[in-house]
Symmetry: C2
Subunit: 221 residues, 2 copies
DNA sequence: AAAATATTTTAGGTTTGCCTAAAATTATTT
DNA sequence: AAATAATTTTAGGCAAACCTAAAATATTTT
C-alpha cells in the first residue's frame, strides 16, 4: 500500500462514505462534504484517477476502484481504532472522539495500527457502533450487538431475544418490542444500568439491565 | 498557544535541540539537521521571525524567543509522551518509538495530550530517559533515576547510593563504582534482572538486581 | 589587508492544494 | 427542440515549502 497525503486520504474517505448511499458520487456532493470548491474537487479527481484509485470520466461522476476501496477501508480502520482508544482508554466523551481521530487517522504506520488494535483487544465496533475493518480491510456489515452494548443514540433493529420464557415475552409485548422493532437508547443510568429507549413513534420506555441483556440487535445500515 | 504547521514545528524543535549545545544556531547546522537546503532554512527563519518565535538578523544565526521555547517544549512533551505510550503500552522496541512519535507529535490537541499524560500515569521520562515537560512546559533538567530504571545505552552518573553498609561499599569499591562514576547499561537479563554495565575505560561489570536497586544516577546533560 | 574560501541570502522556479471567473457540458423547463 | 438553469471543467492565480544557481556577506588564509 502506497502512501497518500492527508488531503488525498480525506477525499478517498469522503467518496467511500458518499458512494454507500448512491452508487456514484458527484463533484458538488463531494465539494459540500469536504467544505471545498467544485474546481478543487475536479483537480483532485484527476490526480486520484491517475493513481488508479477511482474511475472517472469528465462530467460523469466517480466511483472508487477496488484499490481505492482498500485504501478507504484502511483509513477507516485507523480512524475507528483511534476513536475506540480515545473513548475507552482516554475517557473522551462519545461526541468528542471524532474530531481528534480525524487527525490521528493520517499517521499511517501499519505496525502502529496493528499494535494499537492488539492493545485494544481487537474491538469490533467504534464508540458510535460502526464496525472496525480488520488488517485485510474486511468489515462486518451488520453484526449483532447486545442492547447492553448498544451506544447511545445509535439506531438498531431487534433481531434476537435470547431468553424465550413467557415472562420475558409478556414484558416485551407490553412494551411493544419485538423482532424487527427499530429503537435507540436515549439515556443510560449508571446506578442500576437501566436505560431509556425510544422506539418508532412511541414515547420512551425504561428497560432494566436484566432485560437489556437478553435483547440483541443489528445496526441500521 | 497558536497552531503551527508540521514543517514549522520541525524547525522549532530542531533549533531547540541544536541551541542546547551552542547558544546560537546557524543556517547550515539547521539545514543538515533537517536534511534540507540552506536556502529553505532562510525562508523559514524569516517566517518564524515574523511570528516572533525566534531572534534572527541576516547572517547572524538564530535563537528561539521565550515564546519559541514554549512552543518547542510543547512539541517535545507530545513527542515524549507518545514515545512512552508506544514503548509502554504498545510494546514497541526502544529503538522504534522515535520515528512513529515524529508523526504523532504533530497532532496538537491539548486535551488529547493531557488525557494521554493522565492515562500513562504522568511519566517523568521517555523510554530513552529524557524528561517529559509538564503542561506548563516545565522540564526536570537532571532528575535522579535508580539504576534499575536506567534505560539501556543511556549514559548517567552515579549520584547516590542508598544503602551505606560496609558490605555494599566494599562491593562498589571492588567494581570501581563510586559517586561521580559515569556508566551505561549494555544489557539487561530478564531471568534474574541482573545487568552488564560499562564504565569509562574499563570492561563490562555485572550488577545484581539487589545492588542496582541501591544505586541512583543522574542523566548526562 | 587582500585573496581565497565558506556561509548565507536572494532571485526565480516547482509541486501541492486551494481559490475565482469564465467556458463547456448536462439537465430541466417551457 | 430551444431556452434556461445547474453542474462541471478549464484557465489562470496564490501560498506553503521546497529546490538550484547566483549574489552578498563573513571568515580564514596567506
Amino acid at each position: 500500500m502506497l502512501n497518500f497525503s492527508t488531503s488525498e486520504e480525506n477525499y478517498i474517505k469522503a467518496i467511500f462514505h458518499l458512494q454507500k448511499e448512491d452508487g456514484t458520487v458527484t463533484t458538488n456532493e463531494l465539494a459540500r462534504e469536504l467544505k471545498t470548491k467544485p474546481a478543487s474537487v475536479t483537480d483532485m479527481m484527476k490526480k486520484l484517477k491517475a493513481k488508479k484509485l477511482l474511475h472517472y470520466e469528465a462530467y460523469q461522476g466517480f466511483r472508487l476502484s477496488n484499490e481505492g476501496k482498500k485504501v478507504a477501508l484502511n483509513i477507516i480502520r485507523r480512524h475507528r481504532l483511534w476513536e475506540y482508544f480515545l473513548a475507552e482508554k482516554l475517557k473522551f466523551n462519545w461526541d468528542e472522539v471524532h474530531e481528534v481521530a480525524e487527525h490521528l487517522e493520517h499517521v499511517s504506520n501499519k505496525k502502529l495500527i496493528d499494535k494499537l488494535d492488539e492493545f485494544l483487544g481487537y474491538p469490533r465496533n467504534d464508540p458510535h457502533g460502526d464496525p472496525i475493518p480488520d488488517q485485510e480491510g474486511r468489515i462486518e456489515t451488520s453484526r449483532q450487538v447486545c442492547l447492553v452494548d448498544l451506544p447511545v443514540n445509535k439506531q438498531a433493529i431487534v433481531s434476537h431475544v435470547s431468553d424465550q420464557s413467557s415472562e420475558i415475552l409478556e414484558l416485551l409485548k407490553h412494551k411493544n418490542i419485538g423482532i424487527g422493532t427499530k429503537l435507540e437508547i436515549k439515556k443510560k443510568f449508571d446506578f442500576d444500568h437501566s436505560m431509556e429507549i425510544k422506539t418508532g413513534r412511541l414515547p420512551v420506555a425504561t428497560i432494566s439491565e436484566q432485560l437489556a441483556k437478553n435483547i440483541f440487535l443489528k445496526y441500521v445500515n
